[in-house]
């Protein structure tokens, strides 16, 4: 076991020693994160459907209506004067209460910023519609009484009128977006690319330099050598992940949901890539070839697997094709955990699929890994 660590840790050390290391493992992915983060700007601040209400109402009904807008999915701000910046703003005019009491029709104005996220807008508009229906229903039922005080003492009546929005089965109500989607996506892409490139090249070079053979001159066995190389590549992948997660936490307020689960996901995905890199480095004999194949494979898997754009927005046929990419399964776990709050009971099949990829790649690696050219 000590020998395995010794062999594996050296590969990690050599990776870190490489001068281009910080560019490839940090600067380069950050560029990707910035590009894709802004391309799919659900802009971080707007993922929770923010709604600004400008309340100029003179009477009591304005505040009462605003109370009905409160909901966990909505980030509500109430202002008395018009703020400079907002994503969407609902105007409640000065004569709001007066018109209600006169039972006169009125129209409310909803202003939107051009940058505002459509998804979040839909959530806010649905909530506004629900609040209006509820208010009107209550007016019909209870008249002009001060309903706030009424409900406070009779809470069972509070939800006498329930308004539920029902969408057709299977409607995607939420598309993962913003940095919480982009960072895991780029992380998966770069774990693939870095482990395949660095891991593949060093397997090939160690074989050419006869370093692999020399390790076996000691009492280390073939199994220990293989395990050491495997471990080295797993460590590379975990290091790449750690770098991007730390950067994400520091600069993009990254939210990873359940850390244990997202961590497990990264680990299992890295196992698969570690095996694949040994295979690539064992069958290919030239550095340029390994780089080419790795970049191609990693980017194809990234595109198919939904690392760059949410797989939820692509046509179903393309989505089905994506399943051949290990990245698809890892990204799905990220989305389930980060955006939909799902747990192991939902994502375990994905983890099993990733382990199956690992088994296949491991078999290939073992079949082709050799110490001589």
């Amino acid at each position: 076991m000590k020998k395995i660590w010794h062999i594996g840790f050296l590969d990690l050390k050599l990776t870190v020693k490489d001068k281009a290391f910080f560019f490839w493992m940090l600067a380069f992915p950050l560029i990707f994160i910035l590009i894709f983060g802004n391309l799919f700007r659900g802009s971080k601040t707007d993922t929770k459907a923010s709604l600004t209400v400008l309340n100029q109402d003179q009477g009591k009904w304005g505040a009462y209506f605003i109370d009905k807008l409160k909901s966990p999915g909505i980030e509500l701000t109430v202002e008395a004067t018009e703020p400079k910046e907002y994503f969407r703003m609902l105007l409640i005019p000065a004569d709001f209460s007066a018109k209600i009491e006169k039972r006169a029709a009125q129209t409310l104005e909803l202003k939107k910023d051009s940058d505002a996220n459509l998804q979040a807008g839909a959530v806010a508009e649905t909530k506004i519609a629900q609040a209006m229906v509820k208010l009107i229903a209550e007016l019909v039922l209870y008249g002009n009484r001060d309903m706030g005080a009424f409900f406070d003492s009779r809470s069972p009546y509070r939800d006498l009128v329930l308004v539920r929005t029902r969408l057709p089965e299977g409607t995607i109500t939420k598309v993962p977006s913003g940095f919480d989607h982009v960072i895991p996506g780029i992380l998966v892409q770069f774990v693939m690319m870095m482990v395949l490139i660095y891991g593949g090249i060093s397997v090939m070079e160690d074989r050419k330099r006869r370093v692999l053979a020399r390790i076996l001159y000691s009492s280390a066995s073939f199994a220990e050598l293989f395990a050491g190389k495997f471990l080295g590549r797993v460590l590379m992948g975990l290091l790449q992940s750690a770098i991007l997660i730390v950067a994400g936490l520091l600069f993009f307020r990254l939210n990873l949901g359940n850390l244990w689960l997202t961590g497990l996901n990264i680990l299992v995905f890295t196992l698969a890539m570690a095996c694949l890199s040994i295979f690539v480095g064992s069958v290919l004999k030239k550095e340029e070839l390994i780089v080419g194949v790795s970049v191609l494979t990693a980017n194809m898997f990234a595109a198919l697997g939904g690392c760059w754009w949410p797989i939820e927005i692509v046509p179903p046929a393309f989505r089905a094709l994506g399943m051949i990419s290990p990245a698809y399964w890892a990204m799905d776990v990220f989305h389930q955990v980060i955006f939909f709050g799902k747990g192991l009971e939902t994502v375990w099949p994905n983890l099993l699929v990733l382990l199956a990829f690992t088994a296949v790649f491991m078999a290939l690696a073992l079949r082709f890994f050799k110490i001589n050219e």
Partner: protein, 313 residues
């Protein structure tokens, strides 16, 4: 009798049709430094690879200190191997390399560090211990290659052509290191295709070709094989066939043909007085001779006699 540290018996190995080793047998006493001399393709690297445990598919047996070398992996902790290639990490410095390679053996970290520093002194790299290896000369890399093979204090060191491709001075320094190891009791086998190297620094010499040992002994013993003879090297613009044809027409008494190749031939004379007559014979038949050298018996003559060809061919 002292136990032999290494006993190789009837080792044979083929690569398809190619015979790399053919009933190769060799013994080594403890503390001996054996130079294994053989031309390119003789099977030297194949032998070292088998002894290192990384080449399979051979027949024959190898005993190390009386035990089957391949039966117990842990015996490898007692053997050091220096491959023909510079098999180490160029992205690490010399000290880091020694620490990595030493780390494959169960040596406590502190002791390993001490050992690495000592070795760097032995191979004259201590002042360059932390420099990038990419800046090292060929000789320095060769010396580091040897140090790595010694990091675990092996009882037996096997070196495959440790002096190939470096300048004369660097060679001398490496041969000194090998000689020093022998004096400290380490048993050494090193392969080479250069005569001068085994003449200088071995307690025993073995000559091999085509996968088998042709002769072995001390330098004096080997030279006795040729006998008290004068060696004549003839070179010029002639073919092997032309030379042989002319020689056949001489009486050839008291003369031995050691080797004949295009442009170069070696003859041995028991009686040096016969040399002028032979030369006259060659001139008379218009053999285009450019150069003549007369030498006293040496290892080269032994090699020529055993293999029928010169090492340079």
């Amino acid at each position: 009798m002292q136990q032999k540290i290494l006993e190789i018996k009837n080792l044979s190995k083929n690569y398809g049709e190619t015979v790399a080793l053919a009933n190769f047998s060799l013994d080594l006493e403890k503390g001996e430094v054996l130079g294994l001399l053989g031309p390119n393709g003789a099977g030297k690297t194949t032998l070292i690879s088998i002894l290192s445990g990384t080449l399979r598919g051979f027949t024959g047996s190898v005993m190390f200190k009386g035990q089957d070398l391949f039966a117990d992996r842990n015996l490898r902790n007692l053997i050091g191997i220096v491959p023909q290639e510079m098999a180490f990490y160029e992205d690490l410095n010399a000290l880091e390399n020694l620490m990595f390679w030493g780390g494959l053996y169960a040596i406590p970290e502190k002791e390993l560090k001490k050992r690495a520093r000592e070795l760097l002194v032995v191979v004259e790299l201590s002042s360059r211990a932390k420099e990038p290896i990419k800046k090292f000369s060929g000789g320095m890399k060769r010396r580091l290659n040897i140090a790595i093979g010694l990091i675990h204090k092996p009882e037996l060191l096997l070196l495959d052509e440790p002096t190939v491709g470096i300048d004369v001075q660097a060679k001398v320094s490496i041969l000194d290191i090998i000689h020093g190891l022998g004096q400290q009791g380490t048993s050494v086998v090193f392969t080479t295709h250069q005569l001068a190297e085994v003449e200088q620094s071995c307690s025993r010499i073995a000559i091999m070709d085509k996968g088998t040992i042709l002769a072995q002994g001390t330098l004096a013993e080997l030279i006795r094989i040729v006998g008290e003879k004068e060696i004549v090297e003839v070179s010029g613009e002639f073919s092997a066939d032309a030379f042989s044809a002319i020689i056949r027409r001489s009486d050839g008494n008291g003369m031995e043909i050691l080797s004949v190749a295009d442009h170069r031939a070696h003859l041995a004379f028991a009686d040096s007085e016969r040399i002028p007559a032979m030369m006259q014979h060659l001139f008379k038949h218009h053999l285009p001779i450019a150069d003549l050298k007369i030498k006293s018996p040496n290892l080269e003559a032994v090699f020529l006699k055993m293999t029928g060809r010169s090492l340079r061919d």
